[in-house]
């Protein structure tokens, strides 16, 4: 590994790495075969943050079509409208459910919508009402969400996805907001931050999901000042050199976004040492293939690459001006967010 002192963020290498994902995936990515929409999101949003979206100008239309090919349409009395993760479970070319196990997944719906907006799509092919209807079905009595009507676990991750989706479709009809906020508040642990659910220990990922969901649902005010004090303290104490996700755990690049964005939303992004964060991230940078990894002894992957970059974009004061800043609650560039707002304004007029 080259000398750390001279490391800078290799913008073009990372852009190549992210673009490559859209063209070919290594066999080791097989476990993510049913989640390729999220990989597309990491790649496209990553290229946006790097100001290199033009590198896939020629692919833009086909990516949009590929995403839409994973949109499951349905009748008004069915609750299966939304995006599936990839063509793995799509058995024919119909836009309806192609088999009994062909279900949309809430995380795929969120990342699909995000990717479409980043690519400049106007979401006119999306039926917001049917999305809301499907989402309502996924919310449980305690306010949390499952990912899919097919069944499965429920926790803060999917609650966040639901909240994010309401922003993309500009409607909260799909969520019982009160219940959702209560689930979030009930998931505060003694440490002052949020677990995946009540009774679970605070964790950087679930803390992000909780705070972002509150922010998107208008519930940040429900955190009393004293609670915000301890929440901020927990977040800032997660910095070793890079961020760790929980106390006594190793540093991991992806928490740059999960915790950096949380602090940004709370207004305390200047309370950590960003140059030190960047130093850590650069040790995980692969100078040959491009990409960022969880830590310096692991191979890079799309998730850590994207979250390292989008996290860095939030540095206060700004560290890497070549990066586009992301909206911390939606995790898309401010530019993409503006486009989303213009879509909503158009729909209103």
């Amino acid at each position: 590994m080259p000398d750390q002192e001279d490391e800078t963020l290799l913008i073009d290498k990372h852009a190549s790495f992210l673009k490559r994902i859209l063209l070919v995936l290594p066999g080791s990515s097989a476990p993510y075969d049913n989640q390729r929409v999220t990989l597309a999101y990491f790649s496209v949003s990553g290229l946006d943050v790097l100001n290199r979206l033009h590198l896939i100008d020629d692919m833009r239309e086909s990516i949009i079509e590929w995403i839409y090919s994973n949109l499951i349409n349905c009748d008004i009395d069915d609750n299966r409208y939304g995006f599936r993760g990839s063509s793995t479970f799509k058995l024919d070319s119909s836009d309806r459910p192609t088999n009994i196990h062909d279900y949309p997944h809430i995380t795929m719906t969120y990342t699909a919508l995000a990717t479409l907006v980043i690519l400049g799509d106007d979401l006119s092919r999306i039926n917001g009402e049917l999305i809301s209807k499907g989402m309502r079905d996924l919310q449980l009595e305690d306010g949390s969400f499952q990912a899919s009507a097919e069944g499965g676990e429920n926790d803060m991750r999917f609650l966040y996805c639901a909240a994010a989706i309401t922003s993309f479709i500009d409607s909260k009809a799909g969520i019982d907001v009160e219940k959702a906020i209560n689930y979030v508040i009930n998931s505060l642990s003694y440490e002052g931050a949020f677990g995946q659910g009540p009774w679970l220990e605070a964790h950087g990922g679930s803390t992000y999901c909780a705070v972002a969901a509150l922010s998107l649902l208008g519930g940040l005010d429900r955190l009393p000042e004293r609670k915000i004090e301890s929440l901020v303290r927990w977040c800032v104490s997660k910095q070793i050199s890079g961020f760790q996700g929980r106390p006594n755990k190793p540093e991991d690049t992806c928490y740059t976004f999960w915790l950096g964005a949380t602090l940004k939303m709370l207004g305390f992004a200047n309370c950590i040492d960003w140059p030190e964060i960047q130093k850590f991230i650069l040790t995980t940078q692969d100078p040959i293939t491009g990409g960022l990894a969880r830590s310096s002894d692991i191979c890079p992957d799309p998730l850590h690459t994207y979250l390292g970059l989008s996290g860095l974009s939030l540095a206060e004061p700004v560290l890497s001006p070549q990066l586009q800043i992301v909206d911390p609650a939606l995790n898309i560039s401010l530019r993409a967010k503006k486009h989303l707002e213009s879509i909503h304004n158009q729909n209103e007029s």
Partner: protein, 465 residues
């Protein structure tokens, strides 16, 4: 993404790896194709179980495959219960069939102890069984927690099992004690304790703990904190026990001046919670605030004649009201939550708690003598000083925070921010009725507790201004 470790390999090893990978990939594709096409034909049999098991062992997070299994299992169990053949019944007996699921999920968990899909399927399987063996499950949790005691999937699962096994909170508390005795740095055990204690020893306010229990916990956690001062988990638990409790929302003051009524609250509330009665009947007022829904400060225009009787309170706290007769001058009424030397942001401790805090402070000081750069200890000391007497210890608190900006540099802005907040509180508490002097802060604007501002006729900021 769990990451592949970088490993240097020779060319030969590379080739062998490629063949292995290609083989695995082919197998995966073949298996998925078979599963889905047979499913499409409506086939629900043992082969489906066998093939999905193969794929799940390396990809336990493909939830659809678990769901295919559920379908097949329920079908087979159904066959068993409808069967007239004794042999069939034995093979498809519900619990026997589901026990195999426990074996499968256990195999998956051995290589992927954090797989949401595997844990969830295990939960589902146990829920279906007629006679699940909860003790076996508790033993399983024991094993997994030995391997990785921070595995929150396992803790979550354990809590669910304990609930189904009707284990009492006390027995669960004893379990945490075992874990802590094994290893003081048993972070998840402290966490579980924090949830159990309010259930077993509830305090007067919701989610709080009895004072005595807090004292004994403090004693316990100090042993942990002092065994390894660098381990933040014990310090956080310590902090929580000492912590500044969230205040119940209340009115700080009301101000009537030149036809504008201002109500100031400790926390952001909705205007619908504001109740204003004029001559004993409720007034319907339209409120304005900085934010649309929740504000600490709400204002409204009124045109009340001199002598009008006004009563103000928040919904849910009718007993804490402000009452006055309108006159033409500026009328400031201080509410329950107004801060002064007697009613502070952090009040003095009770008689019972004071000695416990003094002991804790003493312990911290002793540790700091040995390890002056121990940042967790120093920060905890700040919190203890605050809890003991925020006025008498004010200067020492500020000095310690300054010290922290030196020994814990990454967080220096955090400590500076906290200093600003505490100084603001101190200034508000010691202000006279008309002037708030914040000049010592060297700030050009107030950052904290802004809802206090309108109450003062004069606010002094940085001495330069």
């Amino acid at each position: 993404m769990h990451g592949r470790v970088k490993v240097k390999t020779t060319e030969q090893q590379e080739r062998e790896k490629k063949i292995e990978r290609d083989g695995k990939l082919k197998a995966y594709r073949k298996a998925m194709s078979a599963l889905l096409s047979r499913r499409a034909e409506g086939i629900k049999d043992d082969t489906q179980l066998m093939v999905s098991a193969q794929v799940l062992q390396s990809n336990p997070d493909i939830s659809t495959l678990w769901n295919i299994r559920k379908e097949v299992l329920l079908h087979l169990v159904d066959l068993g219960s409808n069967s007239t053949e004794e042999a069939d019944e034995k093979v498809f007996e519900k619990d026997a069939v589901l026990l195999k699921e426990l074996d499968l999920t256990q195999q998956c968990l051995m290589t992927n102890p954090k797989s949401y899909g595997a844990w969830h399927h295990r939960t589902w399987s146990l829920e279906q069984m007629d006679n699940p063996d909860w003790n076996r499950e508790l033993a399983l949790c024991q094993r997994y927690l030995k391997l990785d005691e921070r595995n929150f999937h396992c803790w979550d699962y354990r809590k669910w099992v304990a609930h189904r096994a009707a284990a009492s909170p006390q027995s669960e508390l004893d379990f945490t004690m075992e874990k802590i005795e094994e290893n003081f740095s048993n972070y998840s055990a402290w966490h579980y304790r924090s949830k159990l204690l309010p259930l077993i020893f509830p305090g007067s306010v919701q989610d709080s703990i009895q004072e005595e229990t807090i004292h004994s916990e403090l004693d316990l956690v100090q042993n942990a904190a002092f065994t390894d001062p660098e381990d933040s988990s014990a310090w956080f638990y310590h902090t929580w026990l000492l912590g500044r409790q969230a205040e119940k929302s209340g009115i700080i003051y009301s101000l009537l001046e030149n036809g504008t009524l201002t109500i100031s609250c400790t926390e952001p509330i909705e205007s619908a919670k504001l109740n204003v009665q004029v001559n004993e009947s409720t007034e319907n007022l339209s409120w304005e605030g900085e934010e649309e829904r929740f504000n600490k400060l709400w204002t409204t225009k009124v045109s009340w004649k001199e002598g009008t009787k006004v009563k103000i309170f928040l919904s849910g706290s009718e007993d804490q009201y402000l009452q006055f007769s309108v006159d033409l001058d500026r009328q400031l009424l201080l509410g329950e939550k107004w801060k002064s030397t007697n009613q502070r942001f952090t009040n003095l401790p009770s008689q019972k708690t004071k000695p416990v805090l003094e002991q804790a402070l003493d312990n911290c000081n002793q540790l700091l003598e040995l390890e002056p750069d121990s940042k967790w200890t120093l920060f905890t000391k700040v919190l203890i000083l605050l809890a003991l007497d925020s006025h008498a210890n004010h200067q020492e608190i500020i000095t310690s925070l300054r010290n922290l900006t030196e020994i814990d540099k990454p967080r220096k802005n955090f400590f500076a921010d906290l200093e600003c907040r505490l100084r603001t509180e101190h200034c508000i508490e010691t202000a006279d009725s008309s002037t708030l002097d914040l000049s010592e802060l060297n700030e050009t604007r107030i950052q904290y507790h802004k809802q206090y501002l309108p109450a003062f006729k004069l606010v002094k900021l940085s001495s330069d201004k």
